[in-house]
Symmetry: C2
Subunit: 452 residues, 2 copies
């Protein structure tokens, strides 16, 4: 809307030829090509006449047939069960088991969702509606992905902020969790702890030790853990690895794995596939109280079912071609190409930002965003106030007006008082990203001079 | 869940070989074939390589290209605007204008949704959250589609029942609306009036006169009108015609068309296409207060966007082949075949039910359900109480156990105290439907004898 207001009806010439939307993690809109195999299976499911076509590989046909056989009337056009198509939930469970080195996953604990957002808001709705005398507190990282603050506000719950440590690559420090929960107890009942790993907007990838500490803390405080793991395939730093909360929970032993309540989320929108438009996703829940589970099923059934095409897309993500299958090589090549490119762009972005005076950028260990800190002169703060804007919003608006580059001010995600940031995706193709970074650099230097 | 509980783990032999799910309006699950043209366009959008294939007609390709050009990166995999893809909203507006004989529709007033359910619950959320000293009342028909009662309860609003007139083919009587709103004013603030036309579960198609009366009533009482018109293509009685609330509103003159707030809903799930799984739908809003519109956009943007594949499906529904186009004849034939079949089955169902002693069935003027009244002996009521069930639930469970036919008790939709009904879809193929009806008849007669 802001973009629109800016560009419509103003009629004046802009000093750029193209708006670059580096504000949203929308890979295919930035030119990333869909994974061929995924779209082949989807096309076969959509129009089963193609199952007779010699132009489609057998392994794609095999998967399409399997999905269709599990659909009512063998059609993507039928409703599925509210929890999702059975065989797709089975494939998700098998994927999680493989991913977590054998830690078992139960298809009954898998819920297919309309993107991850739907799963997150649904489970939060149930956890918050529990009642009790004081309002429910939901702990979220700062900076956070704004879905969390929006849903908490919709649900009239209390947002309990814990701050990630920018000095330490945006790591989560469990002492900060302790501080936050203690202070929150004065005015609400903290029940849920939300984690985003790899981080959005920070790009931080949590260490195994950190995850253990968080789980122990959740166990101590009897908090429901909500692990947003939609960037699980997006890890770039050679020193980092993705560890799922589920796996670490099980490895910590039965005292934890039998008691800590956990919901974790995945999506077709991120990773190497970037299929945002299909709104596919799943949630795995562990140790959910049977009563809550009943409420969950009831709530989901009101909306009938998640889009079945999105469910099918999720199936390909968790059940990709394996070595020996006809499509394996192409699939593997396409996947590695996307992820390799993202890794290159993550490094490029970090390096370039850190060469600009007045910008500091932590390593982009994962996800698909840079969240650099910008040190802006006091005069900017005054100029922004004159425009009734947050200082970083003012900065981002100027950047947009002068370069056509659209990024999101840090105030949209939350940041420590008096610090300023913006979030920029690394999704533009490499050459374009270089231009973008150069333009941001030039803009920033001019901006500093102007408001010095 | 009930079905499951019944059939799993019981191990005893059932007196039937197949469960017939006549409980849900899921056309393709009952064997209805997808409309070829719709699926061709969807397949082309999904896997654009097919645009080079000679096996797809040019008019399908033309539409696919148009949709893709309006998508970020020319891909269904990109997020759309939260309100939906622009050109699809334009096509929806053009469709409404044609449908309503030239009454203009503005694409800015169109919101694409995740099925109609999503639109209905989103707009209700906003209308209810308005605040004020007393709780918001939402008027709904009884019997109703249970989405309404569920969302009202989720939102902690007050459900205000108005009863449809079973003696008069389930017509809506405006005097009953007056009674309901007057009584409600004692304990809540009635703000919204929900209408389902053609009716679910009643199958009633409202007359133009009735719609005028309702609009006048909404204008008098300053109620927001919510018109659920997802069955607008499903009208079977030769004496009935679908009139949209929008059209009638405009024909009543500016006093109404400039003041009455209206949201109307459509979906890909019903009609002749039955594409439930794609979760496509739209909502048109008229005279929405700009502040409410702002809240709506904000709320929608939290969930990013409706599934783009569902949006594409909606596009084909509102922009089908026209005379002269390559696919027109096949499309027309397929559409008329589905609708003709439904009309035959509607008549068949009414006629057969009315031959059974103790069943009375109003004409199925539209939609895809019968909602017959069953007159059951007092002994049944006692037997049901012994099982802690509503009497019609008891009846439906017995029907399921003895015949494998799954229908929904009237208590799920609401009914006048002391009356009993069930809802059954007319979606099984004609021959199977005949068997189903015969089995219900035999069951009913036996049931009456047993509990006489």
């Amino acid at each position: 809307m802001t973009l629109r207001a800016l560009f419509l009806g103003q009629g004046i010439k802009k000093p750029f030829t193209e708006v670059i939307r580096a504000n949203i993690g929308d890979a295919q809109a930035m030119g990333q090509q869909p994974i061929t195999f995924l779209r082949q299976v989807m096309a076969l499911c959509t129009y089963p006449n193609l199952l007779d076509s010699p132009s489609f590989p057998e392994d794609a046909k095999k998967r399409a047939r399997r999905i269709l056989q599990a659909c009512g009337g063998n059609s993507l056009g039928s409703y599925s069960a509210s929890q999702g198509v059975n065989c797709i939930r089975e494939d998700v469970a098998a994927y999680i088991t493989r991913r977590d080195g054998g830690v078992p996953a139960d298809p009954d604990n898998i819920y297919l969702t309309t993107g991850a957002s739907d799963g997150i808001s649904t489970i939060l709705k149930i956890l918050v509606s529990g009642g009790g005398k004081s309002r429910t507190g939901v702990m979220i990282p700062i900076p956070q992905y704004p879905l969390y603050s929006a849903v908490i506000s919709e649900l009239d719950a209390i947002q309990v902020n814990y701050y990630l440590d920018e000095e330490n690559c945006w790591a989560l420090n469990v002492n900060e969790l302790r501080r936050a929960v203690q202070e929150a107890k004065d005015h609400c009942d903290p029940k849920v702890l939300c984690i985003i790993n790899p981080g959005n907007p920070t790009g931080q990838v949590q260490s195994r030790k950190c995850i253990e500490d968080v789980i122990h803390f959740a166990w101590e405080e009897k908090l429901f853990l909500l692990a947003d793991e939609v960037y699980q395939d997006n890890v770039y730093s050679p020193d980092c690895r993705f560890h799922s909360f589920k796996k670490v929970l099980y490895e910590m032993g039965p005292e934890y794995s039998n008691n800590v309540e956990l919901a974790s989320f995945h999506s077709t929108s991120k990773g190497y596939m970037g299929e945002c438009g299909y709104r596919g996703g799943y949630m795995e829940v562990i140790n959910l109280h049977p009563e809550i589970k009943g409420q969950l099923v009831k709530l989901l059934s009101v909306r009938l079912c998640p889009p079945v095409s999105g469910q099918a897309a999720m199936d390909i993500v968790v059940n990709p071609p394996v070595p020996g299958e006809e499509s394996f090589e192409q699939f593997h090549r396409e996947k590695e190409s996307v992820l390799g490119n993202l890794a290159t762009k993550a490094k490029l972005t970090e390096d370039l930002f850190n060469k600009v005076p007045g910008i500091h950028c932590n390593p982009l260990q994962g996800a698909m965003y840079a969240f650099p800190r910008i040190f802006i002169p006091t005069k900017t703060v005054e100029a922004a106030q004159a425009h009734k804007m947050a200082p970083d919003m003012f900065y981002c608006m100027k950047l947009l007006e002068e370069t056509g580059i659209c990024v999101v001010p840090g105030s949209g995600f939350g940041q420590r008082e008096g610090t300023y940031h913006f979030r920029m995706t690394i999704l533009p193709p490499v050459e374009k990203l270089k231009t973008v970074l150069q333009k941001v650099k030039d803009f920033h230097i001019k901006f500093l001079e102007k408001y010095a």
